[in-house]
C-alpha cells in the first residue's frame, strides 16, 4: 500500500469509526431513556429507595436525645461561644 493511501485509510477509519461510535451510543441513549420511561410508567417496580431498610427500624426513641446529654451539649456550645473573642 502506498503511503498517501495509508494515511487516507487512517483518516477514513477515523471518520467512519468515530461516526459509528457516536451513532451507536446516541441510539443507545435514546433507547435507554425510552426503556426507563416505559418501565417506570407501566410496572409497579418502584426504584430502590435511596436510603433503604435502616430507616424502618429507627423508632422514635432512638431519635430522642437524652435530656442530660442535651443539656451538656447546650452548655458546651454556650461556653464555646462565650470564649470566642
Amino acid at each position: 500500500m502506498s503511503q498517501p493511501e495509508l494515511i487516507n485509510e487512517g483518516l477514513s477509519l477515523m471518520l467512519f469509526g468515530m461516526g459509528f461510535v457516536f451513532v451507536f451510543l446516541t441510539i443507545l441513549v435514546i433507547a435507554t431513556r425510552l426503556m426507563s420511561v416505559v418501565i417506570l410508567r407501566f410496572t409497579s417496580d418502584k426504584p430502590e429507595p435511596a436510603h433503604p431498610p435502616s430507616k424502618a427500624h429507627v423508632t422514635k426513641d432512638d431519635l430522642m436525645v437524652d435530656p442530660i446529654v442535651l443539656a451538656a451539649i447546650n452548655e458546651a456550645v454556650r461556653q464555646h461561644r462565650a470564649h470566642r473573642p
Binding site: 495509508l6 451510543l25 443507545l28 417506570l40
Partner: protein, 436 residues
C-alpha cells in the same frame, strides 16, 4: 568428558544471548513495578513472570513444537525440516520465516515431523493457543467485568454515554498517528497494525488483547504491556491534562444527585444493549455479548452462584493464564524492535487525546441542557475502570471539598467500556472489509 561438555552446552549460561538477557531484565522490571509500585499487580505479576519464563534460553517454553525442532541444535533433525520446507538451511530464523509463510498443508506436515521426532509445544505456547489465539480469555474476562459492573449510574444519567463515546477519539487519532509515522518512514505499520495499536487508547485490557489477537498477533506483547502500563499510570497521566482543560469554577461544579434506578431497568438494559449490537454491529457481539451476559447474571438476581463465579473464581483463573500467555509474547525477537518504542509512544498519546476529548465533550454538553455536568467526569470516559473515576473524584474534591464525583464518574467510566468495545467492533469490521 563428552557428557560434561553436552551438559555445559545445554545450560542457560552457555546459551544466553544479549537480547534474551535484556528481555529477562524487562520481566524483572515488570515484577518490580507490580510488587513495589503496585502497578496493576494482578496482571503485571503473571505477565512479568511469563516474560522471564519465555526468555529462558534452551527451555523454549514459548515455542511451538516446530520452533523447538528448529532450535534443537541437532543437524539431522533440522535438515529434515529444511528439506520438508524445500529450502537450504541457513539460519534458524530464515527457516522459521519460511515455515510461517508456508501454506497450511506444509505447516501441518512440519508439525507431524516435529511430533514424530518427539518435540512438543512449550507450556507457555499451549497457554497462549488456548487463551489468546482462540480469543477465549479476553471474552471470559469481559463476562466477569460485566458481572462486576453496576450499570445504575449509567442508567440514571444516560447522557454520560456521550462522554464514553468522545473519549474513544483517542483510539482513532492514534490509528492516524501510526499511519502518519509510517508515511514519514519512521516506522513500518500496516493499516491492521495501526488499528491494533490505536485500541490502546481504549484503555481496556481485554479489548486491546482481543483486537490485537485478531488483527496483529505479532504486536500483542507490546500492545498489551503498553495498555496495562498506561492504565496503571492513569493517576499520573490524567490530572495535568484535566487541570489544563478546566477552570477552577468548572472543577467545583456539584452535580445533581443521581436518581435511584429500578431493578427492572437494570435487568432490561443488558438485553437492550444486546439487541442493538445484534442489529447494528455484529462484529462487537463477542465482546459486548459476553459483557451483557455477565451483567444479566448479576442483575437478574436468580443466578447468584454463576454471577459469583464469573466475577471471582473464573476471572481470576483466566487472568493467571492470560497473563502468562501475554508474557510469552515478550520474546526478544518480537519485542526488541523500534516498533515497540513507537507503540509505547503512540499509546500514551492515545490516552492523553482520549482524556482531553472526554473533558471537552463534557464542556460541550454543558452548553446545552440545564443539568450541569462537571467536566472532570469526562476524563473517566476512557475506560480504565475504576481508576479513571477515582481520579475524577479526587480532583473534584480538591476544587470543592463537598464535591463527591465518584458515582457520577462511574457512568462515563462504564460508558467507556461499552464505547471501546463498539470502537473495537467497528475497527475489526472496517479493517477486515478493506483488507479482504
Amino acid at each position: 568428558m563428552d557428557k560434561l561438555i553436552a551438559l555445559w552446552n545445554g545450560s542457560g549460561l552457555a546459551n544466553i544471548t544479549l537480547p534474551s538477557a535484556i528481555m529477562m531484565a524487562v520481566g524483572f522490571v515488570l515484577l518490580f513495578l507490580a510488587i513495589r509500585k503496585n502497578f496493576e499487580p494482578l496482571l503485571l505479576i503473571p505477565i512479568g513472570f511469563g516474560c522471564i519464563l519465555a526468555n529462558i534460553p534452551e527451555a523454549g517454553l514459548a515455542y511451538s513444537a516446530v520452533e523447538q525442532l528448529a532450535h534443537s541444535h541437532t543437524p539431522a533433525y533440522i535438515d529434515q525440516l529444511a528439506s520438508l520446507l524445500g529450502v537450504q538451511f541457513e539460519t534458524v530464523k530464515q527457516l522459521l520465516d519460511v515455515y510461517y509463510n508456508a501454506p497450511s498443508s506444509v505447516q501441518s506436515a512440519a508439525n507431524n515431523l516435529a511430533a514424530d521426532l518427539n518435540f512438543s509445544n512449550g507450556m507457555l505456547y499451549s497457554f497462549y493457543s488456548v487463551t489468546i489465539a482462540s480469543g477465549v480469555a479476553p471474552l471470559v474476562i469481559f463476562m466477569g467485568v460485566g458481572a462486576m459492573t453496576d450499570l445504575g449510574p449509567l442508567l440514571a444519567n444516560p447522557r454520560t454515554l456521550f462522554l464514553g463515546a468522545a473519549a474513544q477519539f483517542g483510539i482513532f487519532a492514534t490509528v492516524l498517528g501510526a499511519t502518519g509515522l509510517t508515511a514519514l518512514g519512521w516506522m513500518d505499520f500496516s493499516i491492521t497494525q495501526a488499528a491494533a495499536i490505536g485500541i490502546i487508547g481504549g484503555a481496556d485490557g481485554p479489548t486491546a488483547i482481543y483486537v490485537s489477537s485478531i488483527l496483529a498477533p505479532e504486536l500483542l506483547g507490546a500492545i498489551t504491556v503498553a495498555a496495562y502500563s498506561y492504565m496503571a499510570l492513569v493517576p499520573l497521566i490524567q490530572p495535568p491534562i484535566m487541570r489544563a482543560l478546566t477552570s477552577e469554577q468548572e472543577r467545583a461544579i456539584e452535580m445533581e444527585q443521581l436518581r435511584p434506578v429500578s431493578k427492572s431497568e437494570k435487568i432490561v438494559f443488558p438485553l437492550l444493549l444486546l439487541v442493538l449490537v445484534a442489529l447494528l454491529l455484529p462484529n462487537a457481539a463477542p465482546l459486548l455479548g459476553m459483557f451483557c451476559f455477565g451483567n444479566l447474571m448479576r442483575e437478574s438476581g436468580v443466578v447468584d452462584r454463576l454471577s459469583d463465579t464469573a466475577q471471582n473464581a473464573l476471572i481470576n483463573i483466566v487472568t493467571i493464564f492470560l497473563g502468562l500467555a501475554v508474557g510469552s509474547k515478550l520474546v526478544a525477537d518480537k519485542f526488541l524492535q523500534v516498533e515497540t518504542l513507537g507503540i509505547l509512544a503512540l499509546g500514551v498519546v492515545a490516552f492523553c487525546i482520549g482524556t482531553a476529548t472526554g473533558i471537552l465533550m463534557a464542556k460541550l454538553m454543558n452548553l446545552f441542557g440545564n443539568n450541569r455536568i462537571n467536566p472532570l467526569i469526562g476524563s473517566a470516559g476512557v475506560s480504565a475502570v475504576p481508576m479513571a473515576a477515582r481520579v475524577s473524584n479526587k480532583l473534584g474534591l480538591e476544587a470543592n471539598p463537598h464535591n463527591y464525583l465518584l458515582m457520577h464518574a462511574m457512568g462515563p467510566n462504564v460508558a467507556g467500556v461499552i464505547g471501546s468495545a463498539v470502537a473495537a467492533g467497528v475497527i475489526i469490521k472496517y479493517v477486515t472489509v478493506t483488507a479482504g
